[in-house]
C-alpha cells in the first residue's frame, strides 16, 4: 500500500516536472528541472527494484548530463525565445503516437504480474545461471558482463564513438607535445 502511495506521489512530481519543462523559457531552470526529473525517475527505479539502473540514472541523468547542459547554455544562450509556431501538427503527432501506445497496452500483462511472459521465459534461467555458471551475486552484473556481454561491448563502443565525435566537433585529437612539433596543422 505504502509502495503504491509512493509511486503515485512520484508520478505526480514527474508529470509536474515534465509540464514545467514545457512551459518555462529560462533554460537554466529547464536544465535544473531535467536533473530533477532524472533524480525522481531514479527514485522510481528503486521502487521498481532496479537499483543498478537507479544508480546509473542518478549518476548520468542528474550528474553528467546536467553538467554538460549547463556548460552548453553557458556557451550558447540562457533563455528561450517564445515560440510563435502553432502547436497543432506536433500535437497531432503526439496524440496519434500516444493512442497507438495506449492501444498496445490493452493486451499487456498487468503490472507486476508474476505470470507475465517476461518473467517466465529466459529470466528464470539467468537467475539460476548466475549462481551455477558465473557465481556472481548481482545477477544484473552477470547478464551485463557475460550473458549479454556483447551488448556491453557495443555500449562501450557507443561511448567511444560519442567521445571521439565530440573531439571531432570541438577540439580535435591531442597528441603528446613532442609529436606535435612534426605535425603541420
Amino acid at each position: 500500500m505504502i509502495e503504491t502511495l509512493i509511486n503515485i506521489v512520484l508520478f505526480a512530481m514527474l508529470v509536474l516536472t515534465a509540464l514545467a519543462v514545457v512551459r518555462i523559457n529560462q533554460l537554466f531552470a529547464v536544465v535544473m528541472l531535467s536533473g530533477v526529473f532524472s533524480l525522481l525517475s531514479a527514485l522510481l527505479f528503486v521502487t521498481l527494484d532496479a537499483v543498478d539502473v537507479a544508480f546509473t540514472e542518478a549518476a548520468v541523468g542528474a550528474g553528467i548530463s546536467t553538467v554538460l547542459m549547463l556548460g552548453t547554455i553557458a556557451l550558447t544562450a540562457r533563455t528561450q525565445k517564445k515560440s510563435t509556431r502553432s502547436g497543432m501538427v506536433p500535437f497531432i503527432v503526439v496524440v496519434v503516437t500516444g493512442a497507438v501506445l495506449v492501444y498496445g497496452t490493452l493486451d499487456m500483462p498487468g503490472f507486476g504480474d508474476p505470470n507475465a511472459p517476461a518473467s517466465l521465459h529466459v529470466a528464470p534461467e539467468y537467475m539460476i545461471g548466475s549462481i551455477k555458471d558465473i557465481d556472481v551475486p548481482n545477477v544484473v552484473t552477470s547478464i551485463l558482463a557475460s550473458y549479454r556481454g556483447y551488448d556491453t561491448l557495443g555500449e562501450t563502443a557507443v561511448v567511444f564513438t560519442a567521445g571521439i565525435g565530440v573531439l571531432a566537433l570541438l577540439s580535435g585529437l591531442t597528441r603528446r607535445r613532442r609529436e606535435d612539433e612534426e605535425e603541420d596543422v
Partner: protein, 146 residues
C-alpha cells in the same frame, strides 16, 4: 575561482574520496549495484570537479589530454581484446570460460573483471575528454555580463 579558499580545501579533500569510491564501485560491482560504467562516471567527476575549482590548466597538468585520448581508446581495446583472447584460446568470442577451463566460473570472474575495467577506462576517458572539449570553448560573453 582562486579566491574561494573553502571550496579549494574541500575539493582537495573530496577528490581523493571520490576516486576511492570510484574504485569501490568498479571492483565491487559483482556484489552490489555498480560496475565499470558507474565507476567511470564517478572517476571522471573527480577530475571534472578538480577542473572546475582549480581551473582547466591545473586539471590538464594532472591529467593531460593526450593521455585522456589514449585512455578513451584503451578501454575499448581492453574489452574487445578480452574477446580476442578467449578466441585465441579456442573458445567463442567473449567466452570467459576460456580463462580457466577447469573452473569456468573462475574464468567468468576474470573475464567480468577485465571487461568492466575496459568499460571503466573508456567511460572515464570519454567523460573527461568531453569536459575538456566543452571547457576549452570560448564563451560568447563573460559570466559577469549575464
Amino acid at each position: 575561482m582562486h579566491h574561494h579558499l573553502i571550496l579549494r580545501v574541500v575539493t582537495k579533500m573530496l577528490v581523493g574520496a571520490i576516486i576511492l569510491f570510484a574504485f569501490y564501485v568498479q571492483f565491487h560491482g559483482d556484489f552490489s549495484p555498480g560496475g565499470g560504467f558507474q565507476a567511470g562516471v564517478i572517476m571522471a567527476v573527480a577530475f571534472i570537479l578538480y577542473g572546475i575549482v582549480f581551473g582547466l590548466n591545473k586539471a590538464e597538468q594532472v591529467f593531460p589530454s593526450w593521455l585522456v585520448h589514449k585512455l578513451v581508446a584503451l578501454g575499448v581495446l581492453i574489452y574487445a581484446g578480452t574477446g580476442v583472447a578467449s578466441m585465441l584460446l579456442g573458445y567463442n568470442y567473449l567466452d570467459y570460460g576460456a580463462f580457466n577451463p577447469q573452473h569456468p566460473s573462475h574464468g567468468q570472474h576474470w573475464g567480468i573483471l577485465a571487461v568492466e575495467l575496459g568499460v571503466g577506462v573508456t567511460v572515464t576517458g570519454v567523460m573527461v575528454a568531453i569536459y575538456y572539449a566543452f571547457a576549452n570553448r570560448p564563451p560568447p560573453m563573460k559570466d559577469e555580463d549575464w
